[in-house]
Amino acid sequence: MIEGARWRKWVFFYVPMALFLLFLLFPFYWMVITSVRPDGELYRPWNSINYNPFWTWKPTWDHVRYLFEETLFASWLWNTTFIATLSTAISLVCGVFAGYALSRLNFPFAGSLGTAIFITYLVPQTLLFIPLAEIIRNYRLGDTPWSLILTYPTFLIPFCTWLMMGYFKAVPKELEECARIDGASRWQAMLYIVIPVAIPGILSAGIFAFTLSWNEFIYALVFLSSPQQKTVPVGVTSELIRGDVFFWGPLMAGALLGSIPVAIAYSFFVEHYVAGLTGSVKG
């Protein structure tokens, strides 16, 4: 698009791109370098002469060891995986069914139900967390993984439904009709004909839902109280800070290790994730 001399390409492309990458990725570099830096080097004021921000010559595993030996980090990882997997599975089943019904079946109030589900998609968690905390307590779900497994679908289902509607609409009606003429019931036609065609959509919805539930914070912060029940984001926030003292080494190691599972899941399904992300806003 940009024509002309070479310097223009530098000014209009390479330099801005490099600055964007620096801005967007530097915090991750900082996480990595902090989590392997020994404490003696870590707590050296920025204006001291031997402050060496970008490199360390004595990398250490101490912070990671501290995390696994002195804290419940391993349990937090397990809790988060368990909660994210189950709530994603529930949301996918609900979202696929609801998406199918709303996009391919004729029934009264289909339009207004679709709109209602879209509106719940736009309800932020912070609007409802206080009454929800009370309800969770009344159902005796407080401080159990189920408090999150059952509430995470409220922000995952609407998005899964919305995304799946788009995929189901694209499946030609004739495909389903052929199966029905061959003797399949509606249920069978849905299960064996339409849903398999929409598998890329299910993958996109699934990977997006998994990252969202892995990252969720406020419900987990409010509904869970005992350290061994916590998820990674809440555990790192509440257990690695004592009063005003921040254990920066373990904190950054925890932040890094807590991010790696989503980063791996994401790296396998980048295209699906992007499809889910863009599908989630375009509808």
């Binding site: 964007f20 902090t34 019904a101 968690q125 926030t237």
Partner: protein
Amino acid sequence: MAIAETRIYMPGAPRPRLRLLEDERWLAFVLLVPTLALLGMFIAYPFVRGILLSVTNARVGVPGEFVGLANFYKIFNDGIFRTSVYNTFVYTGVTTVFKLALGLWLAMLLNRNFRGKAFTRAFILLPFIIPTVLSTFAWKWMFDPTFSVLNWLLYHLGLITGRINWLGDPDLAMISIIIVNIWRGVPFFAISLLAGLQTISPELSEAAAIDGAKPLQRFWYITWPLLLPVTMVVVLFSVIQTFADFQIVYVMTGGGPANATHLFATYAYQIGIGTGILSEGAAISLAMFPVLFLVVIIQLLYIRRVEVR
């Protein structure tokens, strides 16, 4: 029903229970029940509970009595609440402008062909997919007054002479929070807008270029109008999320220094969960509702208009 009365059926024919599912309305009902049950139980019901809670004086463990709109009178006369409202609007407004501008710029850069494009695009999304609280801790550590790498950088670039206490000063703390939100949001804008850009045929721009349109004119008269529907949806979506944001402020400042950086959600948390006055906390949360409602209405109307076209 006539079908159900047929008692003799061929081997392999669907069982009567499944025959009910042959009716479109019944099938739709069965398919929607799990979704409606979960959304009803954990969105609609809490919403009603929240309204009921906000007109009582309930605390943790104390059911409370009906007090009318007393909680709302109280918060509207509360200086910290007013600051939170102001902060929330500033936070949402400023970050949205920057996220849109930078996101659009980055999307245009990514829309070109260059080596390592797929790789770059994958890396750029990292701030958006990594748990926000965890990455915000990295920022908090970068903003630490004594060990700040940012201070070191600014000092060596010759921009500052002394130390800057980023999170200790109300204005600087607000700026810091805004920077983190922009950092987190730019990838979302960039990738969504890139998807929009990719649907625009490059031939349009080329044709305009042949007709003598300058790059800026091509952007303003071709790309921008065609991108507008996607932009609108992304902006409205982001406005809702930012307006109701919690995590970044909770980690960076916890609403401090001296309650100067609270947003609706963090103040609601401090009152409702921190001090246990559930009713007032619920009222603060619900005070967000009119604005969110307005944005949702705009979004619904806009989507409908685009669909009609």
